[in-house]
Each structure stands twice: as C-alpha cells, then as structure tokens.
Symmetry: C2
Subunit: 111 residues, 2 copies
DNA sequence: GCATAACACCTAGTATCACTATGCACAATA
DNA sequence: TATTGTGCATAGTGATACTAGGTGTTATGC
C-alpha cells in the first residue's frame, strides 16, 4: 500500500512558514507557489492545506486577514507572526538535524 | 504542541531496511544500531520498532527467524528479502527526491 | 542480598495528520 | 453550455508513531 510518500508528513508546517515568511499570501496561491518552487514535487490538496493553515493560525504562528478584491471577492491573506519567525528558525534547524541523521543511515549506498 | 519531530514519520521503514540489508540483526539491536549510526539522533522505542518490523515482514520485505542462544534465550533475527531489496532501492530514490524538493523550499536561508 | 538497569520480545490504546471526497460560489474558457 | 480554474471550507478515513503497559531473564550497583 505504501502511500506515495509518508516522508512529507511533518514537513508541511515548515513549508508553509517558508512561503508565508516571504510575503503575505493566500491559501490557494501557496499551493501553486510550493508546486512551482519544488519543480512540481509538492502538490498539496486543499484538504491538506486549509486545515494546516488553521492549525498554524490557532498556534499563533501566522495570522490571516480577509481582503476584498476590486471585484468583490474575498481572499484570506496570511502573514507570519513574531512567534512564527522563531518557530520557523527552529524548524529549519530541525530539518538540518534530521537531514544529517538520515544521511548517516541512508547514504551508505556502499555498492 | 509540535511533537519533537514529525519528520521522522515515514522514514522508519527505510531506516530499518538500511540496517537489515547489511546483516541479519534482531530488533533490540536495531534500536542500538540506529542510535549509534545517527550519533544519538534516532532513539526508537520498542513500541515503535516491533510493530514496524511486523509490518515489514507481513509486506514480505524482510523475514524473521528465531534463533536460540547458547544460554537458551531466543532472539528473532531479520534478514532482507529480494522484494525488500527492490523496495529499499526505491525508497532511497524517494528520499533523494524528497530531500531535493525540501531543500528547494527550505534552504533559501537568504542572508 | 536486593534493587535497579539492561536485555529482548510483545500488544493495546491514543493522537496526529495528510489524504479523499465533497460542498459552496463565481469567473473564464472551450 | 459545460468544463476548468479560482478560492474557501469541512467531514470522514487510514496510516502510523507514540505512550504505557506486560512478560521474563541477566548483569550491575549499593
């Protein structure tokens, strides 16, 4: 059964923060942005993204604000909070640690 | 509240296969081996390891065999199967892909 | 001698979380 | 006109790593 990639689990929060930290951005655009930047690797579904955004907002790492477009439609723009910045820095460190540990085990493609 | 590291999810199978592929080894020793090789980063609990081993065995990626030690005690040694070798190769590739994608997003520690 | 840690296996229950599927609403395109 | 794209949202599901507990033996510390 092996899902496509269980590795992704636990990485979403970091990915979202990485995108949001660069500019206020709304949900739908985040999906597009992550797909573009990862050269098509990350293709999150709305069912994955929105709950994650709500989680992050509830945790105080990001803050969302509704904005009304000229045509009357609404978008919810997220920006990162002070706390979010700290957590993002920590998460980058965690990623490096994890990466290092994984490579110590998985790399040895002795051959 | 942000578990220590959700990134680990999805990586266990690969880690186990990486260790088992090098030598027949038993559960308890796998924990020690992963901790040693990762310089203390990976410290899996039995409650994580044994179900994972059973899962891999059920999937046909590894095979376990009970061995009786001179003192009469028993250990279950696991070795990798042909299918396990293939999956391991695939998982190594998946790891590289994931790694690449993650770095494209997370790396930009501009500054 | 006795208690604690280490060895070595196991399971049940829980929480998390990314997924599928679905819904609403409007705009643009085919 | 029908489909695709934009933009938000939730309910339900499945996978999985965790906590917490259990069994029994051996080695170490006090």
């Amino acid at each position: 059964m092996a899902k496509k990639n269980e590795l992704i689990k636990g990485s979403i929060d970091s990915l979202l923060l990485c995108v949001i930290v660069q500019q206020p951005i709304y949900g739908y655009q985040i999906i597009k942005e992550l797909e573009k930047r990862s050269q098509g690797y990350f293709k999150f579904k709305e069912g994955t993204l929105y709950p994650a955004l709500h989680r992050l907002e509830k945790a105080g790492l990001i803050r969302g604000e509704w904005q009304t477009l000229p045509n009357g439609r609404q978008r919810r723009y997220y920006h990162i909070t002070e706390n979010g910045l700290n957590i993002l820095a920590a998460k980058r460190g965690q990623w490096l640690d994890f990466l290092t540990a994984m490579n110590l085990i998985i790399q040895p493609v002795p051959k």
